[in-house]
């Protein structure tokens, strides 16, 4: 083991490549395969389309990476998105100006995060249970808010959904900025390092002077706000809020992306780069199934398989590190 580590150090391979080499290799292979076997995959419009589709998941996954770094977990993000899209759509459809509706959406997300964080820290309920409960509640609330029907916002958010910056979709740019910011926070700020310290050993973190409860609550609030951002992005892309577009189903994709990216389930180790690779991989696989004209029922199967393989590989790697 020791010899292996030494030889690895001598070759000047950057840490991030060592850490994510496997995932990167899988992603590149899948892309190569699709480029060869379909004509459409390697075209600019298709690639931009894939990235535009994963933008919403990318925003959610970036926040979840920070939260999971601290040992937290949020199963309610997708359901938060569902409620926020419904409420924002109702507001816009009833004549509220879009900026006001957007701010309301973000505030709503912050409230959801606050509730989750409060229950988890003050009552000590496991994050898994708390957020599964709030997810179920919010899924129902979303249906109530939509009265079971799709709510169209006509072209109110088209500027966001189809807008471009330097030839790139605006949604993609937003997701990129959020992910880059999360990466910087996790690596170069005290906020991010404290999150990792809490995930690594929360007792030592507390004794070291970190306000663990406050920090944990702010992470849940941050995730709620990002759920608001994601909700507005989703609404702008679809032009309507409709039942079943978000909720637990969306959430599972987000969690899968973070886990595929190598974030430890109990916290203490995480990278946003891994998460981004996980998000893109899932997007490419979904696109591939589409392009290869495989029945779309196989998409969940593929997500599950990728998740399982990634989880096993991560487990083996952590075990060999000890």
């Amino acid at each position: 083991m020791t010899a292996l580590t030494i030889s690895r150090r001598r070759v000047a391979v950057p840490d991030w490549l060592v850490q994510h080499g496997g995932l990167l290799a899988v992603l590149v292979s899948v892309c190569l395969y699709l480029s060869v076997s379909t004509e459409v995959f390697a075209t600019t419009p298709n690639i931009i389309n894939v990235l535009r589709q994963v933008a919403v998941i990318g925003v959610l996954a970036a926040g979840l990476t920070l939260l999971m770094a601290s040992g937290g977990l949020d199963f309610s993000l997708g359901s938060q998105v569902a409620v926020i899209t419904a409420v924002a759509a109702q507001l816009i459809a009833n004549g509220t100006s879009t900026p006001v509706a957007m701010v309301c959406g973000l505030a709503l997300g912050a409230v959801f995060g606050l509730v989750n964080g409060f229950v988890i820290t003050f009552f000590g309920v496991a994050p898994f249970v708390t957020t599964l409960a709030t997810a179920t509640i919010l899924d129902g609330v979303a249906l109530v808010a939509m009265q079971g029907q799709a709510i169209s916002i006509s072209d109110q958010l088209t500027w966001l959904g189809t807008g471009e910056v330097l030839g790139l979709p605006l949604l993609l740019v937003i997701a990129g900025v959020v992910c880059a910011a999360a990466a910087v926070v996790l690596r170069w700020t005290r906020f991010g390092r404290d999150a990792l310290a809490i995930g690594g050993n929360h007792v030592a973190a507390r004794l070291g002077g970190i306000a663990v409860m406050r920090h944990t609550i702010s992470l849940y609030v941050l995730n709620g706000v990002l759920a608001g951002v994601a909700a507005i992005m989703l609404l702008s892309r679809l032009g309507a809020a409709s039942p079943g577009t978000a909720g637990l189903h969306l959430e599972l994709t987000v969690v899968a992306a973070v886990v595929i990216g190598g974030t430890a389930l109990y916290g203490g180790s995480a990278t946003v780069l891994g998460t981004v690779l996980g998000v893109v991989l899932l997007g490419v696989v979904a696109n591939g199934i589409n392009l290869l004209q495989i029945d779309s029922f196989y998409q969940p199967v593929s997500v599950g398989v990728v998740l399982l393989v990634a989880a096993i590989v991560n487990h083996l790697r952590h075990r060999s590190a000890h």
Binding site: T5, R193, A197, G199, N201, A204, L207, H322
Partner: protein, 497 residues
């Protein structure tokens, strides 16, 4: 299992891992009724020898014999069935199950398919009382103290029978009173003609308890001799190969400005009101069995749990330990005795751990080059030895982890007083000497040091003043110059030994 107890004989054991020699030509015997202590620094080969003996790994050369039976390729199961049982340092009890279930773990007696609970409880009761252990078998294991858990673990192995029992540092994390219980049990095992292989870092314990000592150094036997013909110094020399100071260096005594003052600190049922004043540059030891009052001292000074009463002042300023960040800034640091449990982040590297408290990390933005620079300096100052530039902290030996722990908690601006809980728990002799030097250097710089320890040697070596606690009550207070081993041990163990 034969009725006649058999002797253990290991001959010419050798083992290599890759290019590294772990054991070379090691002979080791244990006769029925003998307590044979196995000593050695970290990495000397003790664990490898135990693993060979318990069948966990296979030796490259040599033989293991129990009576007339050869056990060379027995494997863990085979070794156990042949009559060699092992109690590992790491606990293997299931905390959420009862003592009785743990004793019968994996072999619960059944009657017509269902678990026969009466036999489980009665069998466990018998196994415990047979060894003179006073624990109700229906108690959940997590309700027991660490000492009692070790007793249960030993009782489990004894019930399964066998001629040889290996005890791997059974007292490593225990205080004096609990250790005394283990010692009594070990003596009873020997009376019953078991051969006991006893591994320990604690020299005094070995001197008192064992009939014979084998010291391993760099994978070879450095010494095998009856304990009665040895002194502590002989053991230390055999372990490190050179002389390490165990005597207390003389320190000038002078009047000291009170720095850390604890007044009336009390926790219901755990700690009677306690007053301690530590002067600048003074080392005051609070000695007591682990799990007794001095553990409470850490929990309350560090801010983990509030005390029921009491005040703490630092150089005249009031300190509220519950406000942890502020207390750290004021210059009071409490260093846990449980390094990976509550002192360090086991998932982080050495540098990240060292920097986690230092002022650098308190800035909002992190500069990695700064962390590297400062950590390097601290690693030199605290003498942390690593093979790689910045390895995960869990890859270090216990002694080096302990130094990282001290570097993390005792560096940075403004350190004025500290509480050190078992600062040399489970580290080898050399690291222990290093850490003692660090503590003395810190005191020489004017830091008030409060030492919570259950290690009498350490206390006598370091402390200017000794406060002895038992059952949360101060039973004795000495200037170190007047104190000696006998007095302190006597006070500490009281009615127990």
């Amino acid at each position: 299992m034969s009725s006649q107890p058999r002797a253990l004989a290991m001959r010419g054991i050798a083992k290599r891992f890759g290019g590294a020699v772990a054991l070379q030509d090691v002979d080791f015997d244990a006769a029925p009724g003998e307590i044979h202590a196995l000593l050695g620094m970290n990495g000397a080969g003790k664990s490898t020898l135990v693993q060979v003996l318990s069948g966990a790994i296979r030796a490259d050369a040599g033989s293991v014999q129990l009576g007339d039976t050869h056990l060379h390729h027995a494997g863990p199961r085979g070794a156990r069935e042949a009559g060699i049982s092992t109690v590992y340092q790491k606990r293997t009890l299931v905390p959420s199950l009862s003592v009785a279930e743990n004793i019968f773990l994996g072999e619960l007696p059944r009657r017509s398919g269902a678990v026969d609970w009466r036999r489980v409880v009665e069998g466990a009761r018998e196994a415990l009382s047979d060894l003179g252990i006073d624990i109700d078998p229906r108690t959940r294991v997590d309700r027991l103290g660490p000492g009692q858990q070790t007793l249960v673990e030993i009782a489990r192995e004894v019930r399964r029978g066998g001629d040889v029992i290996i005890l791997d540092e059974p007292t490593a994390s225990l205080g004096g009173a609990d250790a005394a219980l283990i010692h009594d049990l070990v003596r009873r095992l020997a009376e019953r003609k078991r051969a006991v292989v006893y591994i320990s870092h604690h020299l005094e314990e070995v001197m008192q308890l064992s009939d014979r000592v084998t010291v391993l150094r760099d994978g070879e036997v450095a010494l095998t001799s009856p304990t009665s013909s040895l002194t502590m110094r002989d053991l230390v020399e055999a372990m490190v190969g050179s002389d390490v100071v165990v005597e207390r260096p003389s320190r000038p005594r002078r009047e000291r400005r009170p720095m850390l003052t604890i007044t009336g600190l009390a926790v219901r049922g755990v700690l009677e009101p306690l007053d301690i004043t530590v002067g600048a540059g003074e080392i005051v030891a609070v000695l007591g069995p682990a799990g007794d009052g001095q553990t409470a001292l850490f929990r309350h000074l560090s801010g983990l749990a509030p005390a029921d009463a009491g005040t703490v002042t630092l150089d005249g300023d009031r300190v509220d330990p519950r406000r942890i960040a502020r207390t750290l800034q004021q210059g009071l640091r409490s260093v846990s005795g449980d390094r990976l449990g509550s002192g360090l982040n086991p998932l982080a590297t050495v540098n990240e751990n060292i920097a986690a408290l230092a002022p650098v990390s308190r800035r909002r933005l992190i500069s990695w080059s700064r962390i590297r620079r400062e950590a390097l300096e601290l690693r030199q100052r605290f003498d942390v030895v690593t093979l790689h530039a910045d390895p995960p902290v869990t890859s270090l030996s216990g002694g080096n982890q302990q130094k990282v722990l001290l570097a993390k908690w005792l560096s940075g601006e403004g350190l004025r007083a500290c509480l050190l809980e078992e600062p040399t728990g489970g580290v080898d002799v050399r690291a222990k000497a290093d850490i003692h030097e660090l503590i003395e250097a810190m005191a020489a710089d004017g830091v008030a040091v409060l030492l919570a320890s259950s290690d009498v040697d350490e206390v006598l070596r370091l402390a200017d003043r000794v406060i002895v606690l038992r059952g949360g009550v101060v039973i004795d207070e000495h200037d170190a110059d007047d104190a000696n081993h006998h007095d302190i041990n006597h006070a500490l163990l009281g009615g127990i030994s």
